[in-house]
């Protein structure tokens, strides 16, 4: 039982991270029907943005007050990258068949990874560590350090931070999508951009907002990841992005709650698989396999995802 509770906590932590990233996939997909493969890299850039902020302004300082600045730095880096990417690469492809933006997304994803790998350590004016290998991430007081023990369950500080971030972001997002006009505009654009324009909706602005919102959450996730695993690297976006995308699809892509539910489900499944699948097909090396198996099963039996709405194709 303790072990169950312990892995539940682990799963929730992992899942929160997935969920934060997944929201970005979902929001963008919902609007432009684009699998933004580069979103994982936005998450990675968020982490590097936070690290850079810390290195430039606070190197050596680990007090809690630096954290908000790091998060701000992360968001600035992620949002800038995401918005630029939308402007330069995706916008010209509006209306092109699906495959074109998808390939572009893969291209951007590779490009961003390589860019950080090759140039992070060679930026002008600043002395950043070489990013060709893992780079240590600052451990901030209060949100890292000795874990809390609740009964026999250990709860890490960074886990609390991550889960907290998710709760706050999700609440904000819910309000934004359902209670603001921009949110409703987003939904309209997602279904028929041309007609949305006829309603007086500035489609380009809405799309930029979607990218920015996704990037903001990814940036927060980047910081959380850095605090949890103590180091970051240019590759971290790939698998995390893949899992987050899986989570988004699992939950029902296009649906913000789906992303959250999908992320948490995926995280918990992974943690439980490590602990409870007996025999040689259990354990850590198989956990990703179980995650993908779950995805495939869900898609086959409920193609629209856990919370997704059924797409109507009327003849």
């Amino acid at each position: 039982m303790d072990q169950f509770a312990q892995q539940l906590v682990n799963g929730l932590t992992l899942g929160s991270l997935y969920a934060l990233i997944a929201v970005g996939y979902t929001v963008v997909y919902g609007i432009v029907q684009l699998i933004n493969f580069a979103h994982g890299e936005i998450f990675m850039i968020g982490a590097f943005g936070a690290l850079s902020t810390w290195l430039i302004f606070f190197e050596g300082e680990t007090a809690l007050w630096t954290l908000p600045f790091m998060i701000a730095g992360a968001i600035a880096a992620s949002v800038t990258t995401a918005v630029l990417m939308e402007r330069v690469a995706y916008r010209p492809l509006r209306g092109a068949p699906r495959l074109a933006p998808l390939i572009t997304a893969i291209g951007i994803s590779v490009f961003l990874q390589e860019f950080i790998r090759l140039f992070y350590g060679r930026m002008p004016f600043v002395d950043f560590p070489d990013a060709k290998q893992r780079v240590p991430f600052p451990q901030i007081d209060v949100v890292t350090g000795p874990a809390f023990e609740v009964g026999n369950v250990t709860i890490q500080r960074s886990a609390l931070f991550t889960i907290g971030c998710l709760i706050m972001c999700a609440a904000g997002l819910w309000f934004f999508v359902n209670r603001t006009k921009t949110g409703r505009g987003m939904q309209a654009v997602s279904q028929d951009p041309d007609t949305a324009r006829l309603m007086g909706i500035n489609v380009n602005r809405i799309i930029v907002v979607a990218f920015a919102v996704g990037a903001t959450l990814a940036a927060v996730a980047g910081v959380a990841q850095g605090l949890q695993v103590t180091n970051i690297n240019f590759r971290m976006g790939f698998l995390a992005g893949l899992k987050a995308f899986t989570a988004a699809v699992l939950g029902g892509i296009g649906n913000v709650w789906g992303a959250v539910v999908g992320g948490l489900t995926l995280g918990i499944v992974e943690a439980m698989a490590v602990q409870f699948i007996p025999g040689t097909f259990g354990g850590s090396p198989w956990k990703d396999v179980w995650a993908f198996v779950l995805l495939i099963l869900v898609l086959v039996f409920r193609p629209q995802g856990i919370l997704g709405a059924k797409v109507v194709d009327r003849a």
Binding site: K181, R184, Q191, D192, T195, R197, M199, G200, I201
Partner: protein
């Protein structure tokens, strides 16, 4: 008196194909103006250009004295020009009510609720099904929703593109009556129709388009009785 909408020498192309080849017409305040013509004559193209979805390759469009050719589609709505597009184009995964509210997206005033009620009165089915995803509506139902939605922006000029397409006779009458009602309430209307008879009967002015050019102009009645029109568009020989 200058016209509310003035289109001059408008040309629009899709790639190399010119779909609209220099047409001019005007709509005065309070009028119902109708464009009729064969399939592919360029009616839809004209409307889409006026509302900013397409850019003209030549010519000018002025609405209440303002040049529209460089204004973004979403800003044109704010000026009071609504467009109910061909093929309804409702938002399929949003509910009926959400669709209607989107019609009022660019409005900042507080009367949205009363307009919503007005739309429900006009089309009771919309109220009955207000929470149903609009994509599951039948064609006619969708058309009503599209009209209701366009009205929600409280337009000064409402452009309707084939509002009767695929509608039952009864429903078509209802839609046509609505056009009259709207006109009486002070909305100017630019109507594109295949059902020339019904359209011309209500029109103060009509234009006949053929392959991108205006070939005939006149009041609704004149056109209705014109020999050419009767032959080509009313199926009488």
């Amino acid at each position: 008196m200058s016209a509310m909408l003035e289109v001059r020498d408008l040309e629009v192309s899709y790639g190399k194909i010119k779909a609209v080849k220099g047409i001019s017409f005007s709509v005065d305040e309070g009028e119902v103006v109708t464009l009729i013509g064969t399939n592919g004559a360029g009616k839809t193209t004209t409307l889409r250009t006026i509302s900013g979805l397409l850019r003209p390759s030549a010519g000018s469009i002025t609405f209440q004295g303002q040049d529209l050719t460089k204004v973004e589609a979403h800003d044109i709505v704010q000026l009071g020009l609504a467009h109910s597009p061909e093929g309804r184009r409702i938002f399929p995964r949003l509910t009926v009510e959400e669709n209607l509210l989107l019609g009022a997206f660019s409005r900042k005033d507080k009367d949205i609720d009363s307009d919503l009620q007005a739309a429900f009165e006009l089309f009771p089915i919309l109220e009955e099904r207000r929470a149903q995803p609009a994509g599951t509506f039948s064609g006619g139902e969708q058309q009503m929703l599209a009209m209701g939605r366009a009205m929600m922006s409280r337009p000064k000029l409402l452009m309707l593109d084939e509002p009767s397409m695929g509608l039952s006779p009864l429903m078509m009458k209802r839609i046509m009556t609505t056009v009259t009602t709207l006109q009486q309430q002070g909305t100017t209307i630019l109507l594109v129709e295949q059902n020339a008879q019904a359209a011309l009967k209500r029109a103060t002015k009509g234009y006949v388009l053929e392959v991108g050019k205006i070939v005939l102009t006149g009041s609704g009645e004149e056109l209705l009785t014109s020999e050419d029109v009767r032959k080509a568009y009313l199926g009488e020989d």
